[in-house]
Symmetry: C2
Subunit: 340 residues, 2 copies
């Protein structure tokens, strides 16, 4: 790898001059500039970011930690983050962490070691981490800002971007109730704030519409497709059988629909299904899946925006918490053909 010294030597100038040419700063004569430029081309020289960041103490690197790159929700969020950061000259260091304290901590350390300028942490739920503060403390103590997508109780002033889960679940449940269903099974996710909030929406919609809640209708899943499938098998055994199902995320809803397909139960005529997240698969599957729309892309952008404003110190107050609102996308899976 060629260094600035080699360029300087070839161009017959000092390293300071080369540096000035590259960074377009200070005075450089046209003649010197040309000679330097030529040397750079011949040597295919690129400044070493590592060395650069030693002096500037900025790497233009942002660490992004997501639980699962394959999950369409995080994928689209990442896209929002990337789009916002890209033209500001930042580049992402992606890492996948599963949902596990240990690994998360390691990746944060790895990011710090790479002296990222900031860190974005995404999770389905941070409450599961024993001590989230312990994970982010090393970053904060070293003046690297962190923003989160999700929920945490933290003693630090952290910016968070969230989503109105209560309202979203409320909308989906209300819609099902309005479609005439009075017995709506719920496929829940793992114990977490998200699950709690979505449950609360489900509950409140029942109360507001004067429909009694039946705890027996709640089946626990784990946010993954297979658990949706299994949950639906249990629901099919129920007597009387519910006429609608609300799953706490789309992936489980799709698993549920597959179970219904395998058992030749028609959707939505025999059982209506609604999901949450509005991932792209909702429009692919037939019948198309009714789902709560989460502005994933915008959430990603907002995360990036929060982070950048912290980094360039245009904001440094208490932790901000932006909550994005909900909308329901009504599709075939909840609307009987004769009602269309």
């Amino acid at each position: 790898m060629s260094s600035i010294y080699q360029v300087a030597e070839m161009a017959g100038v000092s390293v300071a001059t080369v540096s000035r040419v590259i960074n377009q700063r200070g005075y450089v004569s046209e003649k010197s500039r040309l000679k330097v430029q030529e040397a750079i081309n011949i040597l295919h020289y690129t400044p070493n970011q590592a060395a650069q960041s030693l002096t500037t103490s900025s790497t233009k690197l942002i660490g992004l930690l997501v639980p699962d790159i394959n999950n369409p929700v995080f994928l689209e969020q990442s896209k929002g983050i990337n789009d916002y950061l890209k033209d500001k000259g930042y580049i992402l260091m992606y890492a996948e962490s599963g949902e596990d304290d240990e690994e998360m901590s390691n990746m944060v350390r790895r990011f710090l070691s790479n002296r990222v300028d900031g860190i974005i942490l995404c999770s389905r739920d941070f409450t599961q981490f024993g001590d989230m503060d312990a994970i982010i403390e090393p970053a904060l103590k070293n003046n690297v800002h962190v923003v989160l997508n999700g929920y945490v109780d933290s003693k630090f002033e952290i910016d968070r971007v969230g989503f109105d889960n209560v309202r979203g679940a409320y909308l989906a449940t209300e819609h099902l109730l309005k479609m005439g269903h009075s017995s709506i099974a719920l496929i829940a996710g793992t114990d977490s704030t998200i699950s709690e909030e979505r449950y609360r929406g489900y509950r409140e919609a029942h109360i507001d519409n004067h429909v009694s809640l039946n705890p027996a209708l709640v089946v626990k899943g784990d946010f993954r497709q297979h658990s949706g499938y299994e949950a639906m098998l249990k629901i099919l055994q129920m007597n009387p059988r519910p006429t609608a199902v609300f799953a706490m995320n789309d992936v489980m809803a799709i698993g549920a629909m597959m179970a219904l397909e395998d058992h030749k139960v028609s959707v939505p005529d025999e059982i209506a299904v609604a999901g949450f997240d509005d991932i792209i698969w909702c429009s692919l599957i037939r019948p198309r899946l009714t789902s709560v729309v989460q502005p994933k892309y915008e959430i990603g952008k907002k995360l990036a925006e929060f982070l950048l404003s912290r980094m360039n110190e245009s904001y440094s107050g208490p932790g901000r918490h932006e909550i994005f609102g909900s909308r329901l996308a009504v599709r075939q899976s909840t609307v009987k053909s004769e009602q269309q």
Copy 2:
């Protein structure tokens, strides 16, 4: 950010000793080790990768350039790459480049600037780039190895991982012919080696099965969903109307199926549809889409493997070219119900 000097001072030893503790190299007394460890904990110290890589000239960073993170094909490939690299201590720098010379070149430069240890370039087709060699030359000239997924003519000794497109297209076409279709429309992709090869498979299957080729049955798309939709509209206008369609990738096949759905043409009874890539969506859509299985995950792993073997110099011969074989996943979209 704390540095090794601060740790050394706090522990009352020299920086060399701290370095030895961190890298577990050389002799360090237990007493010193403990003092250093404690200082590290108190300061939340992490070695600066940038400074580290100055001396070791290794960053443990691998640059990965994909045209579109949202495309399931590249996503799964990335997963394969990431899984292989992760436990070897490497971390990925993802970048998305669209399919454009300029941007690609920039990102490679950016990677070099970050002194990545190696670069993986993915593309649907490299032949579209005027001068691929110009893009990778800066890397190679600086001793940074590059591996590619796809096709290129290069004067350099580059490892490539490809896929047997001819055979894949052959299998899909043959399958359709065997199902009794003699008029098979082809939804082609953009001009590229991939398209050419997939066309060749389509052609050869016809010849081997003594079915005459009809150029009028070929409709051009661009590998994207919408173009598949449009192409199918044209196919529906044909007279006589073909009874089967083979799309050069799944995304277009799915677009085509949506067009058929909108026009109430039943799949596979009136028109059979087959795609290429076997993305996850094939099993989501109804009827499930018959598709050529590309071992995307394995391709990703192989890319990473090739790169690493170059990097640690366990291989340094001429450019290798591994071609993965094909298999057809026959699903509902090509098999009429009474034949099942």
